[in-house]
């Protein structure tokens, strides 16, 4: 499903990741663990093709980083859900509109959008907040909205970049449980985190990154 072949990504100000080789199968739950600046976000960016390898290639389903046309990238992203530490919600739109945006860009019709957005919001336990604006929600609630936006399009993989980084430990555990439920419904999850304690007793596959290199998988 996702394959990294000898992937190296150099940034102007230093190395991003070096010589990565790994494979993530359909329906897996994988944690990319490492300190800040180790290269975790770079791995996720390489998967949703916001960045491209300097050498090597990344293959995500049928999308090959070495051959992909710029026009095809939006189509890849419609099949990949993304969650960020800073939520990235639009402050001038309510919860319903924020989640619906992911379907609007796919030209889904209005009635279908309503049905799927409400279903996604309810599945993350935030259906009663549909008309609220992000600023009226707590951090945990905002992250749930962001997860709803990621899963509303039924992605085959959910990429989460430090999703609990800005949250209290209890809320972080709730969110992790939520992502586990999403995983149990068949969606692969790749979560980047520096918080080893959060995942240490969980049955997830771990990819450990140090200074851009994979040290353990």
């Amino acid at each position: 499903m996702i394959d990294f072949y000898n992937v190296t990504k150099n940034y102007g100000n230093g190395i991003g990741v070096r010589n990565l080789n790994f494979n993530i199968r359909k329906g897996e739950f994988v944690c990319v663990v490492g300190a800040s600046g180790a290269g975790k976000s770079t791995i996720l960016k390489l998967i949703y093709m916001d960045e491209f390898p300097t050498t090597g290639k990344v293959v995500v389903n049928d999308y090959d980083s070495s051959m992909i046309e710029p026009e095809s990238i939006p189509h890849l992203r419609r099949k990949v859900g993304m969650v960020f530490q800073d939520f990235r919600l639009l402050s001038d739109r309510n919860v319903f509109e924020n989640v619906g945006l992911a379907l609007e860009v796919m030209h889904v019709n209005r009635r279908e959008i309503k049905k799927r957005v409400l279903r996604a919001l309810n599945s993350v336990g935030i259906g009663h907040r549909a008309q609220y604006y992000p600023r009226e929600l707590s951090g945990g609630e905002q992250q749930r909205v962001s997860i709803a936006r990621a899963i509303v399009k039924d992605p085959f993989v959910l990429l989460a970049d430090e999703p609990t980084g800005n949250l209290d430990p209890d809320i972080a555990r709730d969110l992790l449980a939520l992502m586990q439920r999403i995983h149990e419904r068949g969606t692969a999850v790749i979560m980047a985190t520096h918080n080893y304690n959060l995942i240490k007793n969980r049955p997830f596959r771990r990819i450990r990154i140090e200074q851009g290199e994979m040290v353990d998988s």
């Binding site: 026009e71 992203r77 609007e104 860009v105």
Partner: protein, 290 residues
Amino acid sequence: MSAGFLIKEGFSGLTRAKTPSFVAIATIAISLTLLGGAYEIGSEVYDIFVRMQSRFEMEVFLLPSVTEHDKSEVEQRLENHPQVTSIHYVSKEEAARRFSKEFGEDLSEVLDYNPLPSSYRIRLDTRSISFSQITSLAESLEKQGGVDEVKYRRQLLGTLQQYYTIFLAVGGIILLVVLGAAVFLISNTIKLSIFAKREVIEIMRLVGATDRFVKTPFVIEGVVHGAIGALIASVLLLVIIRGTNFLLTGIVNTGIDMEIWLVPAFLGVGMMFGFIGSMRSVRLFLDRTR
């Protein structure tokens, strides 16, 4: 299809980003008002030049010994000249009547004969004829049999033609500068307003929006900004012109009024500015952040 969403997005940009929208509309309105004002003043000055140049007068005085044959030759010469728009023969008697009307003195009471010569008063359209061509026309008429002298305001004509050339050059430059400034201002304002919405663009791209999908609402918004700016400019220019006329009542009659076709012209130019400006700016932004 999400055409409804894209149009709604385009219009809602007006209320979502109030400050950038206000600045964009104000910039378009001010730029168009300046352009319209420059045009109105320019066209009024142009009209004055045209009026003066198209009714330039020349007088061909005839000798007392002039024969009918001489007169018909002069007439024919004038009639065949393309820039001569009217010919009026002033007989000695009419010249005397005009004299007494203008000076209040009856010549027959002062002198026992009429010293005034008969003449032709002609009007010339000097727009398409050079100063030297008029001079040579006058000189050749003077050589015609029965003609005493040809009089016209040589200096005025020279000055008029000289200023007309300067006016065209300076007016053209001013119009170009104002137009350039308007394009520069509008394009920068749109760039700023798109930069203010970089978060929306970034998130739209993350969730899988194509470049066209991202662009469309901005372009619609740009066109709407252009249309609103154009309507404001129309009202503003009308108020400025009417206000100036009102303030100058009794001092000078400018005769300027806003030409109604400027409203659709403003709309066309404003919407085109909005369209091209937003299209270009959003494409640059997308390319730079790719």
